[in-house]
């Protein structure tokens, strides 16, 4: 179910009424779990089976990790869970590459494997699989101060809610178990933090519906087959527009998820923190898809050795972690190179600190320019397409610029620029003063939501 649909609005209203009926208080958790399953399988019913299997398996292994006192056994269970979740994700994500030769063989046409390969990647799979890994590893590391382990029955319900909680089920933020499980308790309507709910929801829907959806329409020609016809300057504008579209789409989803979390009494972690004001690549990744960055740091980078050991080992750990991030996005050449280049950028930055003497504003510009430039790899994927795009970006010397396209991109990215520059150019004192009148700004955003909504599109990160 899409957050930007009327179906979702009806679903939310009904659920909210049921959730806060006082005499049904004990049923809040089962109601949220059932609703999350309904939400998840609204378009594809088979998804319910997949989510169910992941929940049952991880409830059992995590309960055993929690109860068992023998270290080796705990370790064995933890690895079993990690391999199951990452394996499941790997098979679904790379099924085409894994089984392509087999299914193209004529004698194997029309078999079950072919049908499996043709299935689309289940939406949200990587997000809840990552959360499941976090659950097992954190329990193994004894990193849970708040886990209440009474019975398997209770544990099962808590894990089910943790893995299926609908606001963040499909595209994050990736919540760690230690950030979520302790929050499971009876919730009261009077305790809802309405200010945070309203602000997150308005900003989220504005970013998605006004910025990202309109940019998607404006950038409809930003595709391989049409690159030849576009002037370099138009392509540059489109690349910047595409970068902002990715941000608005994904950050929009995260804000909506966080806002909805508040509505049901759960606080989800921030996933985007004005990434385009980062002064170096390292800071950028602490502001962009924060929950994935920290997941990779905790469960990939640190287990690889982190910043311990000789310099080459530290650098290799960074590059491998970023390569993992690239491969997480998808099974194509572009994503792998994109991750690799970000890893290299981080290594160069850490090793030589070439930006240390440059003005802050220039640093911000350089970080944004690097990120936007690399989005060409992310967008076009295949090596020939990537080459054609970058060649056209530099050498399509056509004098005929599409002013409408450039103007539309500028107008739709302008609110995102303001959202970022607001914290740089205004002092804290002025910002505090303005904050008192922020209600007017939010009301105006609602008006723009009513007038300038774009064509309804899926959230881009559903495909990951």
């Amino acid at each position: 179910m899409l957050f930007n649909s009327f179906d979702f609005l009806y679903f939310l209203i009904l659920l909210l009424i049921g959730y806060y009926i006082p005499f049904l208080g004990k049923l809040q958790v089962p109601l949220l779990i059932l609703s999350s399953f309904f939400f998840y399988s609204y378009y594809d019913h088979y998804l319910i089976v997949l989510l169910g299997v992941v929940i049952i398996f991880n409830s059992m292994t995590s309960y055993q990790i929690l109860k068992n006192k023998i270290y080796q056994k705990k370790k064995y269970l933890m690895w079993m869970s990690v391999l199951f979740n990452i394996g499941l994700l790997f098979i679904f994500k790379y099924k085409y590459q894994l089984f392509h030769d087999f299914i193209t063989h004529e004698s194997n046409s029309n078999n079950i494997l072919r049908k499996f390969v043709e299935l689309p990647l289940p939406i949200g799979l990587s997000f809840y699989c990552f959360q499941a890994v976090s659950l097992s590893v954190d329990l193994f590391r004894n990193d849970h101060k708040f886990v209440k382990h009474r019975s398997f029955f209770n544990h099962f319900f808590e894990v089910s809610l943790y893995l299926s909680f609908f606001p963040q089920l499909i595209a994050g933020p990736i919540v760690k178990s230690k950030q979520f499980l302790f929050q499971i308790e009876k919730k009261y309507f009077k305790n809802i933090q309405f200010d945070k709910f309203i602000k997150n929801l308005i900003v989220g829907y504005f970013l998605k519906i006004v910025i990202a959806d309109n940019l998607a329409t404006v950038l409809v020609r930003f595709k391989y087959s049409l690159i030849h016809d576009l002037a370099s300057f138009d392509l540059l504008a489109m690349l910047i527009g595409y970068t902002v579209q990715e941000f608005a789409d994904f950050a929009g989803y995260s804000y909506i998820a966080i806002g909805l979390g508040y509505l049901f009494g759960y606080e989800l972690p921030m996933n985007f923190n004005r990434p385009f004001i980062a002064k170096n690549i390292s800071e950028f990744w602490q502001r962009w898809h924060i929950s994935l960055t920290y997941w990779i740091k905790d469960y990939i980078y640190i287990p690889l050795g982190g910043n311990r050991g000789p310099l080459w080992k530290k650098n290799l750990n960074i590059i491998l972690s970023m390569l993992f991030s690239g491969l997480w996005h998808g099974a194509n050449f572009g994503f792998a190179v994109w991750g690799l280049l970000h890893g290299l950028a981080l290594v160069i930055e850490k090793s030589f600190k070439p930006l240390s003497f440059i003005l802050d504003y220039l640093k911000m510009f350089l970080v944004f320019a690097t990120f936007a430039f690399l989005m060409g790899f992310y967008k076009f994927g295949e090596i020939d397409q990537i080459y054609t795009f970058y060649h056209a970006l530099f050498f399509n010397n056509i004098n005929m610029n599409d002013y409408l396209l450039i103007s539309q991109i500028f107008i739709y990215i302008f609110p995102v620029i303001l959202y970022h520059l607001y914290v740089i150019f205004l002092s804290e004192e002025i910002r505090e003063r303005l904050e008192r009148y922020s209600f007017i700004g939010y009301a105006l955003l609602v008006i723009l939501l009513l007038t300038d909504y774009g064509v309804q599109n899926e959230f881009l990160y559903f495909r990951f």
Partner: protein
């Protein structure tokens, strides 16, 4: 009764200002709508078809069918002449609508360019299909809605156009014209083609013309010439010879609009507003 939501200062002020802004917005939205709304050629294609199907047709009416070359012709509602040209399609689409609906005009102007194409099925489906028609109504509501950011971006693009395009030298104008021409040539004209397909499509077109003629419609066929540069295309040469031969075999006269199109086009193919007026004058002259 406590709704809690209004407990905080922010929420109270937010809802009050939202209500006030909404009141202002709805009070003025109708008068602002024509200024801020926008629609594009895809919608206009469907709108033309829908209007034709839904409105009554006078027995004396004159119709024009064609492609994007003639969408700007006869757009004055006062005249009893209707335009059924389909951008990105051809007169085959307009003829299909006329023949299937049974609404036959007295006189029909037929632009023969691009009749090597298939019927524009997706556009026609939108025009015919009842269920999709409902959706199209939504599309038009959608397109005529007030869009503040869209409006600002259009104004900005016009400003950029004035700033950068109005001071261009003649040599630059000609350079840009050549670029536009080259792009159109690459994308639409210099394409690989199958002779059988072109013959089949032109035959379908001739069949449509024959049916209309049998039903008593007076036909005036015309062709707008393109920039000679486009005639390097093998596809276009083959199409022209096929079309001319078939028209001759079926006793159709073809009016070729030669000169103006060379000087009054944006890209060597599509006429400027003045070019469209010139076409109108020539076609109306045929009726006198």
């Amino acid at each position: 009764m406590n709704f809690y939501i209004f407990d905080s200062k922010f929420s109270r002020k937010f809802f009050i200002s939202l209500v006030l802004i909404l009141i202002v917005f709805f009070t003025f939205s109708d008068s602002l709508r024509p200024i801020f709304s926008s629609s594009d050629w895809r919608d206009k294609n469907v709108l033309r078809g829908r209007e034709f199907l839904e409105n009554k047709l006078d027995k004396e009416s004159i119709l024009l069918v064609g492609s994007s070359t003639t969408t700007g012709v006869f757009n004055i509602p006062a005249l009893n002449i209707h335009n059924l040209a389909i951008a990105s399609g051809s007169s085959k689409d307009g003829l299909d609508i006329i023949l299937k609906s049974g609404k036959l005009p007295k006189t029909l102007f037929v632009e023969v360019n691009y009749t090597f194409n298939n019927l524009s099925t997706p556009i026609l489906e939108k025009i015919y299909n009842k269920r999709k028609q409902d959706n199209i109504e939504k599309v038009f509501e959608e397109k005529s809605r007030l869009r503040i950011l869209q409006y600002i971006s259009i104004q900005l693009s016009q400003l950029l156009h004035k700033l950068f395009d109005s001071h261009r030298s003649k040599s630059m104008e000609s350079k840009i014209y050549n670029e536009k021409r080259n792009l159109f040539y690459k994308a639409h004209i210099n394409v690989s083609f199958e002779q059988e397909k072109i013959i089949k499509n032109v035959t379908e077109f001739i069949d449509q013309l024959n049916t209309a003629r049998k039903l008593g419609v007076q036909l005036y066929l015309f062709k707008t010439t393109m920039d000679p540069f486009y005639y390097n295309s093998k596809m276009l040469t083959f199409f022209d010879s096929t079309l001319h031969q078939m028209l001759n075999e079926n006793n159709y006269d073809l009016l070729i609009l030669e000169d103006f199109i060379k000087y009054q086009t944006k890209d060597g193919v599509h006429p400027t507003p003045q070019g469209s007026i010139d076409i109108e004058k020539i076609l109306l002259g045929k009726l006198r």
